[in-house]
Amino acid sequence: MPPADTPPVSNLDVERYRAGFRQMCRIRAFEEQAIAAAQEKLVLGAIHPSIGQEAVAVGVCGNLRKSDIILSTHRGHGHTMAKGAEALPMMRELFGRDGGYCQGKGGSMHIADFSVGMLGANGVVGANINIAAGAAHAIRLKGEDGVVVCFFGDGAINRGPFLEGLNWAGVFQLPILFVCEDNGFAATTRTSAMTSGAGPAARAEAIGIPASTVEGNDLQAVDEAARELVDLVRGGGPRFLVARTYRLTGHTSSDAAGYRPQAEVQERWLNDPIENCRKLLEAAGVPAAELAAIREAAEAEMRAAKDEAAATGWPAVELAYADVQDVGDPRTRAF
């Protein structure tokens, strides 16, 4: 006879979601440390936390190969980590230090790690959409079987590249998955107030790109939706996924977000994707203590990354002149 405390039978892929939980905890802890570091003036430029949106990044990227490609936004820490970038070079980049992914030249809004197929965050809303179409175009030209995922926000769908990039992907039937993270806001503006019509999925459908919508704070739901779509996109044509979520912090780490009621934010915290996933795993029999330990380990890892980044020196000043261009290199002539 089984002991009384035997966990309920579950066919959840526990390994998979434990890994997803761990990754979400790492992203959360990274951003919590980054926000603290911004207050300490270690992070110098603007950062846009994705706290509350981790399940979208992890659920989608968990279905990609290392060789697959993503393009991200100004709110890109989660995407970047979920695609396999490491915390320390990311933290160093946020601090503008030596050993940052972009040699300290880009900062949070321009983080990229081409070695894991992360072709860059972007400071210009919507600019990544056409670039993503081109990346997918190259995969098609080279006859490869890779997939491109393009993340963007609900505010970006009002920029011209949304129409142009989706049409392009449709015309050339490119292997691209568009992921619209609908967090309800574009900076201080409720996106619904500035968006006509039925929203991103309807627009994609109108362009002939099949679209679906998923509860973005449910890791399992995002994972299952993304798995199906990535399979369809690989070697096939474009697909569009809307992930409904919420930005739990301000637009940037220095935005107190006074333009929305505290009660609204508090209510949204009850749908925290990390807590949702923790409950899912606990219900599947993973001991609470083990899940707490995963979270603590993630926090310890990110505290260490912060400390180590803070202890790292500045990049060599000569780098200011490096990697501008080959012909007419400013190291030869900058004036």
Binding site: G123, N158, A187, P330
Partner: protein, 326 residues
């Protein structure tokens, strides 16, 4: 005279013009909550959401719609929040707004103002720090304004709004908090008139926007060493006050142009060339320019600092120019 910040002075100018003329209105992202830097705080409460209008993230349509609305007789003030993002609307500004009056044989004016904050703002990196004023000075049909003080931000924004031409109005992000005296009189300034920041007869330093303050500080320390620099703040790049610059250089015999923007093909080249053409015989030293190297702007402070023109650099340039002639 009341003291106002550069940001408050700009806000006051807009509010005054909106009170005066019901056809003046502003449009841009997040304006209802005061705009990204707070330049519109409180204006939606006074003028309502139709005249302090929010916009979707649609820069090309914000600018394009402003062109249409200007052709129909309203006076839109377009907010682009960073001059870098205004690049998403260059067709609407350069191909449409700037040329409509001419192409259509004078049937229409396009009295819009596009506010495009420029400049280095610590660790904002390559897509949020640029000074692109020279691009627009190159385009026939556009007026380009680059205020450096609170008083000018009030007077010149008012002038820009009343101007019947499309005006690219470039405030410097690092000046938002700068305080200064702003005259009570609510008269608009004159577009195309330089300001003598400091008089002096040994060298003429021509500058605009935030770099003016660097030059003024340098001139003070040069005065301590017995070199009297005249500092001119151009205030507008098109039209630029050629007469004032030529008159000053004629007296001093020396010209230094100081700009935050990339020096190569920057507006300083235009001034330097004009002076060299007109005053060749009067020059006691070769014309000099200081500006940024032709590199993108970095995030890391020590790298970012490589594009800054400092007070020490201005002092050094003037010393070498005055020494050369001695």
């Amino acid at each position: 005279m009341p003291r106002l910040s550069y940001l408050e002075a700009g806000k006051l100018a807009l509010a005054e013009e909106m009170r005066r003329d019901p056809l003046v209105w502003a449009v841009g992202e997040d304006l209802g909550r005061g705009g990204v830097f707070g330049q519109y705080r409180g204006l939606a409460e006074e003028f309502g959401p139709a005249r302090i209008s929010d916009a979707p993230i649609s820069e090309s349509c914000i600018m394009g719609a402003a062109v249409g609305a200007a052709m129909m007789g309203t006076r839109p003030v377009v907010e682009m929040r960073f001059s870098d993002f205004a690049l998403c609307a260059v067709d609407e500004l350069v191909n449409q707004a700037a040329k409509a009056r001419y192409m259509f044989g004078g049937q229409s004016h396009v009295p819009l103002v596009v506010r495009e904050p420029i400049g280095i703002w610590r660790s904002s990196a390559a897509q949020h720090s640029q000074s692109l004023e020279a691009w627009y000075a190159h385009i026939p049909g556009l007026v380009v304004v680059v205020p450096s003080t609170p008083a000018d931000n009030r007077a010149l924004l008012k002038a820009a709004i009343r101007c019947d031409d499309p005006v690219v109005y470039m405030e410097h992000k690092n000046l938002w908090a700068l305080e200064g005296e702003v005259p009570e009189a609510a008269e608009p300034g004159e577009l195309g008139k330089a300001r003598v920041v400091r008089a002096g007869g040994d060298v003429t330093i021509v500058s605009w926007s935030a770099a003016v303050h660097t030059c003024a500080a340098a001139a003070e320390s040069l005065a301590g060493a017995g070199i009297e620099a005249e500092v001119l703040d151009l205030r507008t790049l098109w039209p630029w006050d050629r007469e004032a610059v030529l008159a000053s250089v004629e007296r001093s015999g020396r010209l230094l142009v100081v700009q935050e923007a990339v020096s190569v093909a920057g507006f300083g080249a235009e001034i330097a060339a004009s002076v060299a053409e007109a005053l060749h015989g009067a020059l006691k030293a070769p014309v000099r320019r200081l500006g940024a190297p032709r590199i993108p702007i970095s995030y890391a402070p020590p790298l970012e600092d490589k594009v800054r023109v400092t007070e020490a650099m201005v002092v050094e340039a003037v010393r070498s120019m005055t020494a050369a002639a001695a």
